[in-house]
Each structure stands twice: as structure tokens, then as C-alpha cells.
């Protein structure tokens, strides 16, 4: 399959800053790929996410979506339709006063007919189980519900690629499980996705992982390989899955442990 998303020597320098936010990052994605972008706070993950969806324009290099460049103002409208972004803080992205109107906001920007908008919003509400909250104020929802709503906001737009910035941060275990299930469903449907996080456990099922450090892409490979080098992962500021961390502290090097069951089984042997 032909790549539909390309980062070509992308660099970005914040105005007035001496250091580069992102430095010469290269990436080629085929449709259906799940990419995890890992790194410590301040490593350039969020800047890269904004570059990927066209909210920031590269200082040098180019971001291409289906051959369209984010640097071209006229092509941005097309890119916004192809790339959806779920931001880290749901509270900061809510525009409307009710859940229903919040989901409708993005669809209304596409000047579709009222009937299509009604159907699409209805679909979003039912898929994410938000029907009973349709008239609720988005800011009054629980943390988990806010995340679901921010995901629904983007899901109804049916983008080819979804970018997700730390989607499980500050959630309780129950909410995390609920949200993860929706993400897994999307993955099963072949949704292309780039997941920005510092926790390796969140992207264990990714096809590929890219590690960022000081704005540079320092390592690319399958997540399994990163699990096998815990010392280096820690040095990059990546949080290892708790079971992997425990196994490493106990001196278990082989086989690589990813969850509690595997750890128990290894220890039992």
C-alpha cells in the first residue's frame, strides 16, 4: 500500500526560542498503521502532534497527507478532514454547551445537510454510550466521560488518521479500561492512529514505536524490542509497564514480561 502520511525532514522552532521543538523527523505511514510516539515530558511529542495535523507549520521540511502539504494554506482544509486530533486536556477543547452540540460542532463545519448532521451525531452518541448525557454540559462530565466525548468529537468526522495526545492521563483504572476498549475497537476496524504518550504499556499493540528525545527521533522499532532494553527506555524517560519494571528489578531478563500474568508464570517456573 502506498504511504499516505509522510514526515520529510520535519523541524520546528518556536518563535523566540533558541532551541528546536522538533528536529529533522522522518516518518512514513501506510493506511491502517498504529504508531506509538514515546518520550519524556518536553521531548517534543505534543509539538510533533500539532505538526502532524497542520496546526503548526514546519520551519523546514514538509508534512504530506495524501500528497497535500500542511505548509499550503489552501490544502489545509483537506488535511483537517483527513487527520483528526484528540487533545490531552478535553476541557480545553469543548466549544459547545451540550454534549450533543459539542459532537455536532465538527460536522457542522463541513456544511453538511441538517439531516446528515442529525444522523451522524446520533450515531456518535449511541456508539460512545452518551445518549443519556446528550443535554449535559461537557464540563460537568466525569474525567472518563470527557475523554469519551473528545474521542466522539473526532470519531464522527471519520478521519483517515487519528492523533491522540496522552489519552489515558489522569484517569482512574475503571475509566482507563473503558476508554482503552474503544481505542481497541477502532484499531480492530483498521483505523490509522498515532498515539503520543510516555507510557509504553499504552502502545504495546502498536505496529511501530518512535522514541523522541530533545525534539529528535532517536529510536524506531517494534514495541517488543523496546521492552527488551529497559535501561535505555528509562533513560529516554519512558514509563515501562509495571510488570516489566518488576521483572527487570527481579533480574528476569528472558522472556520479556509485559503483564502481571506473564510475570506470575515466569516466577512460578
Amino acid at each position: 500500500m502506498a504511504p499516505f502520511f509522510i514526515l520529510d525532514q520535519v523541524s520546528y522552532c518556536y518563535p523566540g526560542s533558541l532551541t528546536t521543538g522538533v528536529c529533522q523527523v522522518n516518518l512514513v505511514l501506510e493506511p491502517g498503521t498504529f504508531l506509538g510516539v514515546l518520550g519524556a515530558n518536553g521531548s517534543g511529542k505534543s509539538t510533533l502532534a500539532r505538526l502532524c495535523c497542520g496546526l503548526l507549520k514546519p520551519t523546514t521540511g514538509q508534512v504530506l497527507v495524501d500528497g497535500y502539504s500542511t505548509a499550503n494554506e489552501e490544502e489545509l482544509r483537506y488535511i483537517y478532514r483527513q487527520v483528526g486530533m484528540v487533545f490531552q486536556q478535553p476541557d480545553n477543547q469543548f466549544v459547545a454547551a451540550t454534549v450533543e452540540r459539542e459532537i455536532a460542532f465538527g460536522v457542522e463545519n463541513r456544511t453538511l445537510s441538517s439531516e446528515v448532521i442529525r444522523q451522524t451525531v446520533g450515531l456518535g452518541l449511541s456508539y460512545f454510550g452518551l445518549e443519556t448525557l446528550r443535554n449535559a454540559d461537557p464540563h460537568s462530565l466525569s474525567g472518563g466521560e470527557k475523554r469519551l466525548l473528545s474521542l466522539a468529537d473526532v470519531w464522527v468526522l471519520k478521519p483517515k488518521l487519528i492523533l491522540v495526545d496522552e489519552p489515558l492521563a489522569m484517569l482512574d483504572p475503571g475509566a482507563k479500561q473503558r476508554i482503552t476498549r474503544f481505542w481497541q475497537d477502532l484499531r480492530d476496524q483498521g483505523q490509522s492512529m498515532i498515539w503520543f504518550t510516555h507510557g509504553l504499556a499504552e502502545v504495546l499493540s502498536a505496529d511501530l514505536v518512535l522514541v523522541m528525545e530533545n525534539g529528535r527521533a532517536v529510536w524506531t522499532g517494534p514495541p517488543g524490542e523496546l521492552l527488551a532494553m529497559p535501561e535505555q527506555a528509562r533513560a529516554w524517560g519512558i514509563t515501562l509497564p509495571p510488570a516489566t519494571e518488576a521483572a527487570d528489578r527481579l533480574g528476569v531478563k528472558e522472556p520479556v514480561v509485559t503483564n502481571e500474568d506473564e510475570l506470575v508464570s515466569v516466577l512460578w517456573k
Partner: protein
């Protein structure tokens, strides 16, 4: 005992709750004109009866309906004194320098205080029977004619909606910042006015920074979801006004007309 809510929406199914928000806002303006235009005892009796009827139709407790008046006693006293002392007129009863007490001034004081009280009750009835979202949607709809004189009404409507929507969020955030500063020894309850004013400066800065950060994040999120300007969006279909809404508007217009005839 919990204090009665002022201006906060109280869910219900009364006639006033069921009226379209656009009709309610228009009725509010017409009745405000009737209140301001009242110039005789009969005129005031008319608007007083109309407001009493509205309170009955809203099925709200009388104490809730008049709650905002209780919070502004001092304000009412000040405007009464200002009108009484500065209005002047014939048959001066007493005078001290520039201050003069005359029957016309006292009458004017009562008149202005009466107007403020009645308008406060009317506004309160609107907000207690209408959801804030309905108010903003109705406002957006009502300002539409301004489009013909070049006002970007869709953008204005969106700005009003977002601004109103973020008020509770900012209040909550301000409270959190205040708590955090109290926990670190800040004092907001000082008896000295100067000390109290000074203590709020460290509160204002973080609140403003937070507001700008939020505005920036919101702008990015809107752009990422394809927002360019409010013009290039699908317009929401508005439910048409029904017979009850037209009746309410006609009755209010009638009250206003009668008020004109009652003017001496």
C-alpha cells in the same frame, strides 16, 4: 439553611418554562419598556399585576422570584438617596449645600428604585425558567437582523456562547487558585480594604494566564475540527414559534400600549 438561588435555572414545566426563549427575551424587553414608561400609579399597578401574573405562571416560589432584590438593598438605598438629594424641584423641604430634598425628588427616588426592582424580577424570571444554552441560542437568533448592517452575527453568537459557557469554569478555576494560595498562607479575608485589594493581585495574574492558555488551546481545537469562520457552517434549524409564544408577545405588547395611554 440554604439561601434561595438567584437567577439560577430551576427545572419545571410551567407555562413560562415552556415558552420559546426567543419569545421570552422579546417579552422581557417589551415589559421593561412598559416598566420604564410607567408614569402614574395606574401604570405601576398595571405592570405590578402583570409581573405578579408572570410569577404565578412560572410556578416559582415568590421568595425565589424576588430573591435578587434582597441582595441589592444597599444599591437600592444609594440610588434612592442620589435621586432624592440631587433631583431638586419646587417646594424644597430641606437643603444642605448642594443637597435638596423636595417632593419631586422623593417621588423620583421611589420611581427609579421601583423600576430597578421590577426589572430585576423580570430578568430573574427569565433566567430561572430558561436554560443558559436556550438563552444564548435565542440571543444568536435575535441578533440575526444586524447582519444587514455588516455585523458578523454568527461569530458574535459563537463568542457570546463560548464566553457564557466558560464563566463557571473560570469561577471554579479561580476558586481552586484561591484555595491553593490560602493553603500557602495568603489572606483574602482581611478587614482592611487596601490589604484585601492587594491580596487579590496574585490571584488575578494566574487566572489571566490560565484564561489565555485556555483560549489558545480552544482556538487550536476548533481549527483542528475544521472551523474557519461561523459563516461556513451548517445553520441549525430553529423550531418555529408556536401559538402560545405569539399570545405572550401580543399580551406584552398590549400592556405596553395601555401603558402609553395611561401616561398623564
Amino acid at each position: 439553611m440554604r439561601s434561595l438561588p438567584t437567577g439560577q435555572y430551576i427545572p419545571g414545566h410551567s407555562f413560562l418554562h415552556r415558552l420559546d426563549a426567543r419569545a421570552k427575551i422579546l417579552c422581557l424587553f417589551i415589559l421593561m419598556a412598559a416598566v420604564i414608561g410607567a408614569a402614574s400609579l395606574w401604570g405601576y399597578a398595571l405592570v405590578l399585576v402583570a409581573i405578579a401574573l408572570l410569577v404565578l405562571l412560572s410556578r416559582l416560589p415568590l421568595r425565589s422570584a424576588v430573591a435578587p432584590v434582597r441582595g441589592v438593598y444597599w444599591f437600592l438605598l444609594v440610588i434612592f438617596l442620589m435621586n432624592t438629594l440631587f433631583f431638586g424641584g419646587e417646594d424644597v423641604l430641606a437643603s444642605w449645600g448642594i443637597f435638596q430634598i423636595a417632593p419631586a425628588g422623593i417621588k423620583q427616588g421611589f420611581r427609579v428604585v421601583g423600576n430597578v426592582v421590577l426589572i430585576l424580577i423580570l430578568g430573574n424570571l427569565l433566567t430561572m425558567t430558561t436554560l443558559p444554552t436556550q438563552v444564548t441560542t435565542a440571543l444568536a437568533s435575535l441578533i440575526k437582523p444586524l447582519k444587514f448592517i455588516g455585523v458578523p452575527t454568527e461569530d458574535v453568537a459563537l463568542i457570546i456562547s463560548i464566553a457564557l459557557h466558560f464563566i463557571p469554569t473560570f469561577m471554579e478555576e479561580t476558586e481552586l487558585i484561591k484555595m491553593a494560595q490560602i493553603a500557602r498562607g495568603a489572606r483574602f479575608e482581611s478587614r482592611k480594604l487596601s490589604e484585601r485589594a492587594a491580596s487579590f493581585i496574585p490571584l488575578v495574574v494566574p487566572v489571566f494566564i490560565s484564561a489565555f492558555r485556555r483560549a489558545d488551546a480552544l482556538a487550536l481545537a476548533m481549527e483542528a475540527r475544521g472551523y474557519r469562520n461561523a459563516k461556513n457552517r451548517t445553520k441549525r434549524e430553529k423550531a418555529p414559534l408556536v401559538a402560545g409564544d405569539y399570545c405572550a408577545l401580543m399580551v406584552c405588547a398590549l400592556i405596553c400600549l395601555v401603558q402609553i395611554f395611561l401616561r398623564p
